[in-house]
């Protein structure tokens, strides 16, 4: 029986309580995406907790899926996660290109295939489970309604990209696939996307959408860990047909067309579909057995006795009947789902056999499919490679080889064609710099933050050199993403401030910034890194160049990275 879903706020508060008690032994789940996915973190954490799969949660650096997966020593690599959630958006991956209109579809799927393969390879290396979230349909379609008919348009490219990703991921062990589009469909585009948070913080989706995707991620992981439920035990009266056979007689029960009876027959057909995919069907009914089989004899019945693996038709408590059947089938109680229309029967079974999952047939039988789908209780994963005799797909292997050949970390960085401009700011730049100093939490020294008016003062101070860092790569212009401030003091140069937006982290920009600082300074530069709750990326970088928390370092020889072009000011 499905309880009322928790609101996003309730989930966040739940997660706060739960996460405080988690330790390394619970394992770690890392979320990587091409957009700001931080709001998803608590919602996935809470959903996993609800499924009995609590882990620590970490949101990886913004828009760095491939480098996080490929680069040894990346933040994610250091965490050695147990689960990685990877969720790219096609809009983000297509930034460097015009939207699909006339070009080949493959031009628009290669990037996401690369992301998928890099993620699956990394997960394999980390012995982690990968949950790959297939992207929702891009909302920007220059042809509008006309895009639907364009065989190389936005929707076509989206469909083909998703198919390609499914194909390369199919059969890889430890890989689960979720679908953001499914959740967007469920809510509708207007309730699922938020243009305000997209522009303000690159968060494209609403909490409502994140909740649904989080639930799907947790359901998939639950299926992977505990397996699908194997037995559906169904009641008969008002579940397989309308009415009560003991009162209405076999002729009186409703299995007719064009009405509720049709919904009951559709439910029976669906039980046969389940059976085809391996679910065992049983019946638990309080009836005289003869009446029940008479009802089964109706010509409109889809299900027949031969389809049933077990049945109990008597007046004993259903919990007892279910326990007997599960025992007879040599299965565990946790593998069973009991479907009944009567809340009293459901609660009797629930109290005696808490492991059995319960599903209430709605009073209006037309809604049976919605109830079942939303409960997720009878979901199953696609047949695994092992099931299919290890028929590894040829195309997946080829794709993987290409990406390995094409994408060593060095080559990946080189392929970005990054160019960094370090320049002296004008007073008109101070507003932007002050915003960077105020907002940057992750890539900082962790020290004092200068206010806008203090920065104006520093700009005029001849003993202080402020540098403003702009970055461009083949995907586009990042704009001003960082700043450094160096003070000349009687005891040499001191790095006063170092901030870099997370959008530009991990691509050599930080090395270039420090190289610039060293080049401009006549003496070695004193660097003091402080510990804050959020500046792990900054600390990690400074450690890599020899500046550790709590001890002053003297830096003089940080080299400008070879893959980064130097754009000369003016």
């Amino acid at each position: 029986m499905t309880a009322t879903p928790l609101t996003a706020l309730q989930r966040r508060l739940l997660w706060r309580r739960v996460s405080a008690g988690l330790t390394q032994t619970n394992g770690t789940t890392v979320v990587l995406s091409t957009f700001t996915a931080n709001p998803l973190e608590a919602l996935v954490g809470a959903a996993l907790h609800t499924e009995g799969l609590s882990t620590k949660m970490v949101t990886g650096p913004y828009d760095q899926i491939i480098s996080e997966c490929l680069v040894q020593g990346s933040e994610t690599d250091l965490l050695q996660p147990n689960t990685v959630v990877v969720w790219p958006r096609l809009e983000d991956l297509w930034r460097a290109q015009p939207l699909p209109l006339v070009d080949q579809l493959s031009d628009y799927s290669q990037m996401i295939v690369d992301v998928a393969v890099a993620a699956a390879d990394a997960a394999e290396r980390w012995k982690a489970t990968l949950v790959f979230v297939l992207p929702a349909q891009p909302e920007l379609r220059p042809l509008g309604v006309g895009d639907a008919g364009n065989p190389v348009g936005v929707i076509a490219a989206w469909e083909s990209a998703r198919l390609d990703v499914r194909t390369v991921l199919a059969g890889r062990s430890g890989v689960l696939v979720a679908d953001a589009e499914q959740s967007v469909r469920c809510l509708g585009v207007r309730a699922a996307t938020d243009p305000r948070t997209l522009t303000a913080a690159r968060v494209p989706y609403t909490d409502a959408l994140f909740c649904l995707v989080a639930d799907d991620i947790a359901r998939l992981l639950r299926l992977a860990k505990f397996g699908a439920r194997k037995v559906a035990i169904v009641d008969a009266d008002n579940t397989l047909w309308g009415g009560v056979v003991g009162e209405d007689g076999a002729d009186g029960i409703d299995l007719l067309d064009n009405g509720p009876g049709e919904a009951f027959r559709a439910f029976q057909s669906w039980l046969l579909e389940l059976r085809r995919s391996g679910t065992i069907i049983g019946v638990a009914s309080k009836n005289n057995e003869a009446d029940l089989w008479e009802a089964f004899g109706r010509s409109e019945m889809v299900l027949n006795q031969a389809h049933l693996a077990a049945w109990r038709v008597n007046w004993s408590p259903k919990s007892q009947n279910i326990a007997e059947m599960i025992d007879e089938l040599n299965l565990g109680l946790a593998s069973a789902v009991f479907i009944d229309d009567n809340p009293l029967e459901l609660s009797e079974v629930g109290e005696s056999l808490p492991e059995v999952a319960l599903l209430q047939m709605p009073i209006d039988a037309s809604y049976w499919m919605r109830e079942i789908a939303e409960s997720g209780l009878l979901d199953r994963l696609p047949p695994t490679n092992e099931d299919l005799g290890r028929a590894e797909s040829y195309s997946a292997e080829t794709q993987r080889r290409t990406v390995r050949e094409r994408m060593t970390p060095e080559e990946y960085l080189r392929s970005l064609e990054i160019a960094v401009l370090c320049s002296d700011p004008l007073s008109s730049d101070i507003a932007r710099l002050s915003q960077l100093v105020a907002k940057t939490n992750q890539f900082t020294l962790g020290g004092y933050r200068h206010s806008e008016s203090e920065l104006r003062g520093l700009l005029a101070d001849s003993q202080v050199r402020i540098r403003m860092i702009s970055v461009i790569d083949k995907f586009g212009n990042y704009g001003v993403v960082g700043a450094t401030i160096v003070r000349s003091t009687s005891s040499g140069s001191l790095l006063d401030t170092f901030v870099l937006s997370c959008r530009a982290m991990g691509r050599g920009v930080e090395e270039a910034m420090m190289a610039d600082v060293c080049e401009l300074s006549e003496t070695a530069v004193r660097v003091n890194v402080l510990l804050t709750p959020r500046n792990l990326p900054g600390r990690t970088f400074f450690e890599s160049i020899g500046a550790f928390v709590g001890e002053e370092a003297l830096l003089s020889s940080v080299r400008w990275p070879v893959h980064v072009k130097r754009t000369i000011s003016e």
Binding site: T7, A8, L9, R12, L13, R16, N38, P39, R196, T197, T199, A200, A201, V203, T206, D207, K439, N441
Partner: protein, 75 residues
């Protein structure tokens, strides 16, 4: 939960830290991501939708209260 309690819950601070005159500068956990959670929690709780401009202005309890009251929210 009243408005101050809701804000304290979202920002994960003791309820008494958030009063009718608290501003963003006074609460260290009130960063840009918390701002998003706060906007989302206010919208969810009071069933309203802020404009982009309002979303950026909601940086103190007095302003939040003023904006909510302008939407006829009793808080």
């Amino acid at each position: 939960m009243n408005l101050e309690e809701l804000i304290a819950a979202v920002l994960d601070v003791e309820p008494e830290r958030v009063t009718a005159i608290t501003t963003r500068d006074e609460i260290e956990t009130w960063d840009s991501l918390a701002q998003l959670s706060l906007v989302s929690a206010l919208e969810e709780t009071y069933d309203i939708v802020f404009t982009s401009a309002e979303m950026q202005e909601l940086v103190s309890v007095p302003v939040i209260r003023t904006v909510l009251r302008a939407r006829s929210v009793d808080c």
